[in-house]
């Protein structure tokens, strides 16, 4: 049997976090859920995760800083950045730092799953 892929979710909004956790769980992924930047970074660097979904605005350490550190240590890890539509500068920064994709909130969960699967080579 194929190993379940482990996805890191870093999102401080409990509703969005829970929604993504639910959807990914339904799609057969294992989820490691975090709600602040420090915890997310620790999980990303120390655990055997297959991809990360990271919100930009988070307490303690923002998503851009988390992405920067991940890229320095795990350059191949697929990363999707979540941001709000009005913060275009975050999108530019995230793409410059090597985010593989970004999604603006509110987003359709199906789109997120599609992006994730495409990054993991499952589409």
């Amino acid at each position: 049997m194929e190993k379940q892929k482990l996805i890191l979710i870093a999102e401080d909004d409990p509703s969005v976090n829970r929604l993504i956790t639910f959807k990914l769980g339904k799609e057969g992924f294992k989820v490691r859920s975090t709600s602040d930047g420090k915890e997310a970074l620790k999980a990303a660097l120390e655990e055997d995760i297959d991809a990360a979904i990271i919100d930009v605005m988070m307490p303690f350490l923002d998503g851009i800083q988390v992405l920067k550190r991940i890229r320095a240590e795990k350059p191949q890890l697929p990363v999707i950045i979540l941001t709000v539509k009005s913060r275009g500068e975050d999108i530019h920064k995230a793409l410059e730092l090597g985010a593989d994709q970004y999604m603006t909130k509110p987003f359709q969960t199906a789109e997120l799953v599609k992006s994730l699967k495409s990054l993991l080579g499952e589409l």
């Binding site: 509703s15 959807k23 339904k26 509110p106 359709q108 969960t109």
Partner: protein, 376 residues
């Protein structure tokens, strides 16, 4: 001691003002208190609701069990406030399940009744909510609201209809939005785009019928075709422009052949929108001849034609692009030079030659683009 009557009146006024101020401040404090108590209660409820909602979606709770919890709270505005972000993000079976929960809990009936409420705000909110829940049984009520004279109702009804994705209301919504001056063209396009990609199919069918390569089959397509035939007070080019913009926004490639045919006999405004749609879609119909558009009388058409040339890279059009380097309009010269700079070595050589050949507009724009390319 007898007080001066004027002083007495003054003291009375001060007392009244002070009393009113205290009452006003007290009212603010009480309102804030009630609000924060309400928010606290809402937060407590949503903690429970989240478990119930996801438990229901995951099949751990039955529809009846989950609906009973929401019903017990007896607050549909709070229920909607909680569910709305999920409803907007969910799709497929998950959306259907969430909608079923709303129906079972009585939320849909509640907002259907609110569509007939006296308050403008409540009516508008109900229209948007039913739209977000894709309640097509409310389409006739929303259409009635769309034909009201109040702009708030018209906007809410249009947003509700568009969110519902019920394309049977697409033609009427378009006509209403274009008929009212308080909606800008871009605003109307933004609202209509929420009908989704299904509307592009109807638009394409109407364009194909108009260009003789197909027929308008269903009532929606026939209504759109009537718009293009100019059967109401709005000029057809306005409809063309809006519909073509929507096709471009959705990058609807299936419409390319119809757009290509239409471009041959379209008026200049429509032509501009067709070329803009090619840019959005990122290609032109196969075999589309860009040359007549590079020679068009209207400078905006020439400017867009120069921009879309890259999709055909038609070498026979290079002399026309060269001519456009001396066009009276700066933007035409700019886009022609940009196209030539992307046309391989021949184009670049031509631009370099222009910089030395003369001191006119063609030389200036060629120099500018070559310098810009060096910087980048």
């Amino acid at each position: 001691m007898i007080m001066d009557p004027y002083l007495y009146i003054l003291v009375q006024i001060i007392f009244v003002i002070a009393g009113l101020t205290i009452l006003f401040l007290l009212a603010i404090v009480l309102l804030r208190l009630f609000h924060s108590l309400g928010e606290k209660r809402y937060r407590q409820m949503t903690e429970d609701w989240e478990d119930v909602f996801f438990g229901y979606l995951q099949g751990e709770l039955t529809l009846e069990e989950a609906a009973a919890v929401f019903k017990k709270a007896n607050s549909y505005p709070w229920m909607w406030r909680f569910l709305a972000p999920y409803i907007r993000s969910l799709d497929g079976d998950d959306f259907d399940q969430a909608k079923l929960l709303c129906r079972q809990a009585g939320l849909i009936d509640y907002y259907k009744k609110r569509l007939h409420h006296r308050s403008v705000t409540q009516k508008a909110l109900a229209a948007r909510t039913l739209g977000s829940l894709r309640c097509r049984e409310s389409t006739s009520d929303l259409l009635a609201m769309l034909h009201s004279k109040n702009p708030i109702f018209i906007l809410a009804a249009a947003q509700g209809l568009a969110a519902s994705g019920d394309t049977s209301a697409f033609a009427q919504t378009t006509r209403t939005l274009l008929n009212h001056t308080f909606f800008t063209f871009e605003g109307a396009a933004e609202i209509l785009s929420r009908f989704g990609v299904e509307s592009c199919k109807a638009i394409t069918a109407a364009l194909e019928a108009k260009t003789g390569s197909g027929t308008a089959e269903n009532p929606v397509e026939k209504s759109l075709l009537d718009h293009l035939h100019g059967k109401d007070s709005i000029e057809p080019y306005v409809y063309y422009s809006l519909y073509i913009d929507l096709l471009g926004n959705f990058r609807y490639r299936e419409a390319l052949p119809a757009l290509g045919k239409l471009a041959r006999f379209a008026d200049q405004e429509t032509m501009v929108h067709i070329l803009k749609a090619f840019l959005r879609i990122g290609e032109m119909p196969p075999g589309f001849d860009i040359k007549p558009f590079l020679k068009h009388d209207y400078w905006v058409v020439r400017s867009f034609a120069a921009q879309v040339w890259k999709y055909s890279r038609d070498q026979e059009a290079l002399p026309l692009l060269e001519n456009l380097l001396s066009d009276p309009y700066w933007w035409v010269r700019y886009h022609a030079a940009r196209a030539l700079s992307e046309a391989g070595q021949n184009g670049k050589t031509l631009l370099k030659r222009k910089t030395t050949e003369s001191a006119g507009a063609a030389a200036d724009i060629s120099r500018y683009i070559l310098e810009l390319n060096e910087v980048n």
